[in-house]
Amino acid sequence: MTKPLHPLTMWVWSLVLSIGIVALDNTWVALATVGVAALVVYLRRDGSPWNATFWWSLRIGVFIIALRALIGVLIGVPIPGTELFRIPILELPSWMPGIRIGGAVTLERLSSSVHEGVIIASMIALFGAASALTSPHKLLRVLPVFIYEIGITLVIATSVFPQLAHSVKRIRRAQQMRGMEKVSLRSIALPLLEETLTRSLQLAQSMDSRGYGVSRRRSRYRPAPWLARDFYFVLTAVAAATVMVAS
């Protein structure tokens, strides 16, 4: 297994690259950056449950692109150009001026919506890559103690959410085995909510009774030093981003 990077390295890397992407605003560069991020995740994955986060962020990205394209087709300013097809214009009441739903859909309008979607999705994918390679628990350890409440919230959210998917599966299976014809949202949500609440409370109690936040200073059992390779890793991102911003 490769030695883990400093918990902040990937986050800084992603942050710098997303600044670059937004500044350059180019679909193909954005997609290429996501490709690089995917490669990094593939090379540095360590089999922890967080690794799946990147995959999820990609799915969310695709959903956002699709949604943005759909909205772009339905609502929006008419951009002149090659007309692809025309949908009927919806009559809107007089108190909603300046908004047009429907109308001519041009190639330019569609591509500009997709382009915006891709930029947003790339940023999400970059942060997905960062959280896929850095356990949020490790991140918590490098955060200063004075953001104690944020620390507790972060740990609870990041511990409870992966278990959430597991619980949903378990509850659904139990209800299937019971022979419930249709497993409704309500029948899953109620037991799930109850369990998640109990679990979060227990975790908060556990952190509290183990003295989290009592001392203003916090020592490190295994200090995570910022090494040369962390520096070079971030440097690549800074260089790439500088080129993007400058051009």
Binding site: S48, M177, R186, Q205, S206, R210, V214, Y221
Partner: protein, 534 residues
């Protein structure tokens, strides 16, 4: 070490006092058991010790609790972290980090210990709890017993003077439970740690404890030595029931003591009768079933047949494949090879009401099936689904647990009541087969006895089979006709309860250990054999 003076506790929006006027002192190096019925306030009492109650839960606390001279009223739980180590009921819910070593160091980091002190203490505690081999593993990949030991290790590493444990063995198989308890025993004796423990399965802990705090249902408490408390109590382990049944003059809490007292009982001659069960028509037929997840083999080509009216217990370590087998039999898990037949059909093809009428299934967390707003709503729904006349399910439930309010929210029921509710709902479909996954976690002896009775009635009256996965040897001894023992995905033993339980000392129930080499598993067996003999 710990002083309770006139402690009473009541939770907000509740009219029932959890504890009433508890006064006692617990000395250094003492091991104290807290016992009581399910939902009687054992956990509340434990969490009073480091101030989680009422600081985290709210509620009105009268009286005062001091730990090593510090009043829990005045400080937050965190300020007692160096003094009190607490291990909750489900340790997995309390883990803050991913890796064993980091988890153990977490508390020390929070209290700003020097790095060299931390290194030394982590090594110490890893050795003390034999966790060295798993120090770099992720916690979620450990077995239940190992997780429990990690939780104890991360409390112990702070060198607390008091260790508080809430049902530390309830989810563990007998061997893992013994491991955990022997560690506690060593801590008390070698390091003079004060240990407060709550546990339902008294048979596991009773021999180790010095004193018992018994919480009765109305919040009254009594404190005394194990013998004093158990003499009057209605919640007693088999070892005490045996002493009562045999009218022994003294009580003993360990197998060794009672063996000495009962040597004349054991020495009677009995004619070894071997009554083989009449073979019944098969209900569940499992034929070279093979299940694997990725490269992990869960079940390796197992075959077995379960016939009508049999009560079969499925035992084995955590992760031995019990749940996979149950899921395959119910038909929600597709086998990689082999077949499962239930009443001659493929269980995977059952759906809806047909499924409810064929297989009754009680999951590990009974609450998974409950989403109504009241007991009444759940019962009414069960009646309509099964086409029964209104009130049938509720009257059945009432027979199982009298005094259950139909307006109560399922969430507010005690563990035992909730299980009874789910069992009534499942049985309302009148299924021809009943399957239960670890049903008795968190049940006291009375609730377990009721539960045993209900299942036995179901099996004998309707001549239907019952299959249950469990770690509870005493329950198996009382209930099951046959035991299937799984290890590493294979059946290692399959036979009558008597044969399987007696063949392994770790899985033998308490009465069998006392009465060995006589083949008696329960108090009833002993009494029946003695009556026959006289």
């Amino acid at each position: 070490m710990i002083t309770f003076s006139n402690v009473s506790l009541i939770y907000p929006h509740s009219t029932k006092t959890v504890l009433e006027d508890l006064t006692c002192q617990i000395q250094e190096g003492e091991m104290v058991l807290v016992m009581g019925q399910t939902g009687s306030g054992k956990s509340s009492l434990l969490r009073l010790i480091n101030g989680l109650v009422p600081h985290h839960t709210g509620g009105i606390l009268a009286g005062d609790i001091t730990v090593d001279g510090i009043s829990t009223r005045e400080v937050k739980p965190g300020s007692l972290a160096h003094l009190v180590g607490i291990v909750g009921q489900n340790p997995i819910n309390g883990f803050v980090t991913d890796i064993v070593e980091e988890e153990i160091a977490f508390g020390m980091e929070a209290l700003n210990f020097a790095p060299d002190v931390m290194r030394k203490r982590v090594e110490e505690v890893l050795d003390l709890l034999s966790l060295n081999s798993v120090r770099n593993r992720t916690i979620s990949s450990l077995s239940g017993g190992e997780q429990q030991r990690v939780a104890i290790a991360s409390a112990l590493v702070m060198h607390p003077k008091v260790l508080v444990l809430d049902e530390p063995t309830s989810a563990l198989d007998p061997i893992a439970a013994e491991e955990v308890l022997s560690v506690l025993h060593r801590l008390v004796h070698d390091l003079s740690v004060t240990v407060i423990i709550a546990e339902h399965r008294l048979e596991r802990v009773i021999q180790f404890v010095d004193r018992i705090i018994y919480i009765e249902s109305d919040g009254e408490t009594s404190i005394g030595s194990a013998e004093e408390i158990l003499e009057k109590s209605t919640l007693v382990p088999p070892i005490i029931r045996l002493a009562r049944a045999l009218n022994l003059s003294e009580f003993g809490t360990s197998v060794r003591e009672v063996r000495r007292l009962t040597s004349d009982v054991r020495n009677i001659e009995i004619n070894a009768e071997t009554h083989s069960r009449a073979s019944t028509s098969p209900v569940i037929e499992v034929n070279s079933l093979h299940i694997q997840y990725g490269s992990d083999i869960a079940l390796h080509r197992i075959s077995t047949v379960i016939g009508q009216g049999e009560i079969v217990a499925l035992m084995g370590r955590n992760g031995a494949g019990k749940s996979s087998l149950l899921e395959a039999i119910v038909g929600v898990l597709k086998p990689n090879a082999g077949t499962v037949r239930v009443y001659g059909g493929n269980p995977a093809e059952l759906a809806g009401s047909q499924r409810r009428q064929t297989i009754g299934y009680v999951p590990q967390e009974p609450a998974d099936l409950l989403y109504g707003q009241s007991v009444k709503e759940e019962c009414t729904q069960a009646d309509t689904q099964a086409g029964l006349s209104p009130g049938t399910t509720f009257s059945f439930l009432n027979r199982l647990v009298p005094a259950i309010s139909e307006h109560a929210h399922p969430h507010d029921l005690s563990e035992g009541q909730r299980l009874a509710l789910v069992l009534s709902i499942v049985l309302s479909g009148n299924p021809k087969l009943l399957i239960l996954d670890e049903p008795t976690r968190g049940l006291d002896y009375q609730a377990k006895a009721l539960f045993t009775l209900a299942l036995k009635e179901y099996a004998t009256k309707l001549n239907n089979p019952v299959l249950l996965a469990t770690h509870d040897v005493e329950l198996v001894a009382e209930l099951a006709d046959r035991v299937i023992f799984l290890a590493e995905g294979e059946i290692v033993a399959d036979g009558s309860t008597l044969d399987v339980l007696l063949s392994s000392p770790a899985f033998a129930p308490q009465v069998a250990k006392i009465m060995s080499p006589q083949p008696w598993l329960t108090v009833d067996h002993v009494v029946a054999a003695l009556r026959e003999n006289s």
